[in-house]
């Protein structure tokens, strides 16, 4: 009888413990804040791409209860400076580290240190030559390239000579965008007469474009594959006074390019969704840290905009990021 009683008591006690456990689990369900350090290529509020990306990151940080610290070197070219920040970040022992690698090769060693420390690594926008990351969020450059190609296709007729002002030779992004262009142009890909490289520098891009114009006076369409190439190419074409003869397609949505688009010098541009890139980067970081499902790779997306549709609300939404004051960097 006593035994029976004790059994009953034990069962009740276990039940109570179970309930308490459930209760505490339920209470703990409210997310603890997590620490994430993001090292972009640069922090520059005059650069639409980066300010929009950081704004997206900050919005996600607020939404997913992430304590987000953003640090960066002075210049996009200073990959050594970025590496120092990466090593610093490892020492801080955050829950996750996000990097927009400045250099495909130069950032590798530092990124390996992150991997070795066991801290989840998320690449945003650009990665390194080894697949070290837990997750990568970027524009799918092949798809972005096909958008360039599709825009081009609308603007050419048989025999129109096409030139591409690419950015950095042998960089993964340049190669992928080029592949996308060729894929979309299909049989018209043979009309590409020249590919030049602006080396992500306005002056260099302008120089190579000017040379191009001299070499191929009958060029009908120029496709630029990044911000620097596009602006440089436009400047060269403007200098040559040939903006009305040559169709041009740009990349990224800087104010300068938007204005070229308004002027009609650029006939179309492909924009990246940098806000989404930042947002998704932090979102995935939070998911990885909290053990929730996440994707190994996310395409943050891109879109093509033409002179004709740029005033439409849908295009405006893509061209001009709507960034609340609280997320501005």
């Amino acid at each position: 009888m006593k035994k029976r009683m004790r059994e009953a008591l034990i069962i009740i006690l276990l039940g109570c413990i179970g309930l308490l456990w459930g209760w505490t689990a339920y209470v703990q369900d409210r997310e603890e804040p997590i620490d994430v350090i993001y090292i972009p290529k640069i922090i520059d509020d005059t650069n639409e791409f980066w300010s929009s990306l950081l704004a997206g990151a900050k919005m996600a940080a607020q939404e997913y209860n992430v304590n987000l610290r953003i640090v960066a070197a002075e210049s996009e070219l200073d990959y050594e400076g970025q590496n120092e920040w990466i090593l610093w970040a490892v020492e801080q022992k955050p829950d996750a580290i996000m990097i927009s690698a400045c250099d495909y090769n130069g950032t590798l060693t530092a990124a390996r240190k992150v991997k070795e420390s066991g801290i989840p690594l998320i690449f945003v926008d650009s990665n390194v030559e080894e697949p070290l990351e837990d997750c990568m969020v970027s524009t799918d450059n092949f798809i972005a390239g096909t958008r360039l190609g599709e825009l081009a296709k609308q603007m050419i007729s048989d025999g129109t000579k096409i030139a591409v002002v690419s950015h950095v030779k042998n960089s993964s992004t340049a190669k992928e965008r080029m592949d996308g262009i060729a894929y979309a142009l299909d049989e018209s890909a043979g009309q590409i007469v020249q590919v030049v490289y602006g080396d992500s520098d306005y002056a260099q891009a302008q120089r190579v474009t000017s040379e191009l114009l001299n070499d191929y006076p009958d060029i009908g369409l120029i496709i630029a594959t990044n911000e620097y190439s596009a602006v440089g190419a436009v400047r060269a074409v403007k200098n040559a006074g040939r903006q009305n003869e040559i169709a041009m397609i740009g990349f990224d949505n800087s104010i300068e390019q938007v204005q070229f688009l308004e002027e009609g010098i650029l006939d179309g541009i492909v924009v990246q969704k940098s806000f989404n890139m930042g947002y998704l980067g932090v979102q995935q970081a939070a998911a990885i840290v909290r053990g929730e499902p996440y994707q190994r790779y996310i395409d943050s997306g891109s879109a093509a905009i033409t002179v004709e549709n740029m005033q439409e609300p849908e295009s405006q939404k893509l061209l001009f990021p709507f960034i609340q004051e609280e997320y501005q960097y």
Partner: protein, 607 residues
């Protein structure tokens, strides 16, 4: 504890516990069943009310905000300087004569354009300084005639004002005032900010046509502040749509714009009620309030999950309370059952002891002062009474037996006494002095033994001495007719024996055995130890007994007047009374050969 007991005790306990549990559980369950759905319903209802109230407040604030801006617009737009400046080129210079007929404006264009510009920009500057939520303020007639902000901002050379949606809308609007949706302000060069534009037409005073436009671009400071401070729970939010379903403000406007997230805009516009609830894992409650003034819809979104958190909390609390109540019920019922069954079990134990006759252990310790306590007390009283009665009974039995024993105790037969005394007289007369002394001494020994009433038990030696004296007397009387021998084993002399049990046996042997025999007979008395017992045999070689006589040897009614009046029956009865049924007399007899009687008594048994 016996199984039988266990089951019976559990059945009481079980029934008590079960009733408790059924009572508590049914109460809790009915409570849950009744209250939880109603709390869920109430939570949603409250959230709807709350959402609508908040939306209404936001709408009111936006209305008054827009009204305020409209007042500014009206105030500015009615300033005569503005049409003068905007349409200056139309009527100044060579066009001046066109308006000469209009006396009201005869002097108007005497003021130079520069002064008008300064006056207007001063006014704009003041406004811009006083309001941080004004992104741009401006007037425009065409690409040439406009003032933006402090006058330094230029028009976007690539934009024709009349192609802009908000410009066209305002010029066509009834009343000439309109509020745009969110749009990028690309009229002002290098601006490209997202704004909401409140614009008002400015009529050309000469043609009365809507040719000019005054506009104020509102940034999102005020509206986002309004929406953000109106909490819809921790995760909920507020967004605003214009009448056409365009997003005016959304906390995740950019994600919405880039298509990363979607909002239930169609449902908001089409649902026709002031709230709806979306399905799915992240079910949300949407509450809508439409402003009559702006035509905007303020939509509050709160997550059902979050709303139900309170409900879940309540549920948990209910369940915890239920568990605690059930535990308490189990403990309480167990305790109650124990309070009832344990004393009863103790009583049962005591009763078993009573059944076994162990009255000493039967008493129950009574701690309770309730019904069961009184039952225990009664039980104790009862067992005590029984015990007393039994003790009394034993005492009475003892007394009775004593009396009986005494009654059964053989007396010296008066005939024997007379005969002996006659013999003494006769011997004295014959001068046989020695024999007289001998017989008298033997008689004295016998009488001492017989009359000693105090002792019920004597030593075996004394008993043997007594029967020897008797035999000696009889021997003197019967002379050669009787021979006897008495033997007593060493070591049992001091063994106790009920007194006066041998003499009747010897008497029987003489009177029934030897007396009818022709010639002399012998009586042998011997006592010896036989294991735990002492065996005393009285043997004679007299006539013996028939089978029939042997069978009736212990019959009570067999009284022989010639004997001393107490027969074998009495001896047997006394032995059995005293020593128990295992002891007594055992006769063997054979006709003409003699009789042998064996008396078994316990050896070394104390009195």
């Amino acid at each position: 504890m016996a199984k039988h007991n266990f089951l019976s005790s559990v059945s009481i306990k079980k029934s008590i516990m079960q009733s408790f549990l059924v009572l508590v559980i049914s109460t809790v369950v009915s409570f849950l069943v009744v209250s939880l759905p109603s709390t869920s319903h109430a939570v949603i209802r409250n959230s709807i009310d709350y959402g609508l109230r908040v939306n209404g407040l936001i709408n009111d604030e936006i209305d008054s905000y827009i009204a305020y801006m409209e007042n500014i617009a009206t105030f500015v737009a009615e300033d005569e300087d503005i049409p003068r400046y905007l349409f200056y080129s139309l009527y100044a210079g060579e066009n001046k004569d066109k308006i000469l007929g209009n006396s009201n404006y005869s002097a108007v264009y005497d003021i130079d354009r520069e002064s008008l510009f300064i006056r207007i920009t001063d006014q704009f500057r003041v406004l811009m300084r006083s309001r941080t939520d004004i992104a741009n303020i401006g007037i425009i007639y065409d690409e040439e005639n406009y003032i933006f902000n402090d006058g330094a901002d230029r028009i976007n050379p690539n934009i024709s004002p009349d192609t802009l949606h908000w410009v066209r809308e305002t010029k066509q609007a009834v009343g000439g005032v309109s509020l745009s949706a969110s749009h990028v302000q690309n009229l002002v060069a290098d601006d490209y900010r997202w704004v909401i534009t409140l614009s008002r037409v400015i009529r050309n005073p000469y043609t009365n046509e809507r040719q000019g436009l005054f506009f104020i671009d509102l940034n999102y400071d005020t509206i986002s502040n309004l929406c953000e401070k109106s909490a819809m729970g921790e995760y909920g939010y507020v967004f605003i749509l214009d009448a056409a379903g365009n997003v005016i403000y959304h906390p995740k406007q950019q994600l919405l714009y880039t298509g990363l997230i979607e909002e239930e805009i169609d449902k908001v516009l089409s649902c026709g009620e002031d709230y709806f609830i979306t399905d799915g894992r992240d079910g949300c409650l949407y509450t809508m309030s439409v402003s009559d003034k702006t035509g905007w819809t303020v939509v509050g979104v709160s997550y059902l999950d979050e709303m139900m958190e309170t409900r879940r909390w309540i549920t948990w609390t209910f369940f915890l309370t239920a568990v605690v109540l059930v535990s308490v019920a189990v403990l309480l019922s167990g305790f109650l059952a124990d309070r009832i069954t344990l004393p009863i079990l103790k009583l049962r134990e005591s009763m078993r002891e009573v059944e076994k006759g162990n009255f000493e252990k039967a008493s129950v310790v009574v701690t309770e002062k309730n019904e069961i306590g009184s039952l225990g007390n009664s039980f104790n009283l009862m067992t005590r009474k029984i015990q007393e009665l039994m003790a009394q009974n034993v005492e009475e039995q003892k007394e009775k037996r004593k009396i009986e024993l005494r009654a059964l105790q053989s007396q010296i037969n008066p005939h024997f006494l007379y005969n002996t005394l006659d013999s003494i007289i006769w011997m004295a007369e014959s001068g046989e002095n020695e024999e007289v002394v001998q017989m008298t001494a033997a008689l004295a020994t016998m009488m001492r033994q017989s009359f000693n009433n105090k002792a019920e038990i004597v030593s075996l030696e004394a008993e043997i001495e007594h029967v020897e004296s008797y035999l000696m007397i009889q021997k003197m009387r019967y002379m050669d007719k009787l021979n006897f021998s008495v033997s007593l084993e060493e070591g049992i002399r001091e063994c106790p024996i009920v007194k006066l049990v041998l003499q009747p046996l010897v008497e029987n042997a003489i009177y029934h055995g030897i007396r009818y025999k022709n010639g002399s007979g012998t009586v042998r008395v011997s006592a010896k130890r036989e294991g735990e017992e002492i065996h005393i045999t009285v043997e004679d070689d007299g006539v013996g007994m028939s089978e029939q006589a042997l069978q009736h040897i212990f019959d009570e009614h067999k009284v022989n007047y010639n004997s001393n009046g107490v027969g074998v029956y009495n001896v047997e009865r006394r032995l059995k009374l005293y020593y128990g049924n295992a002891y007594g007399l055992f006769y063997e007899s054979e006709r003409n050969r003699g009789t042998r009687v064996l008396m078994k008594i316990p050896g070394g048994m104390e009195s």
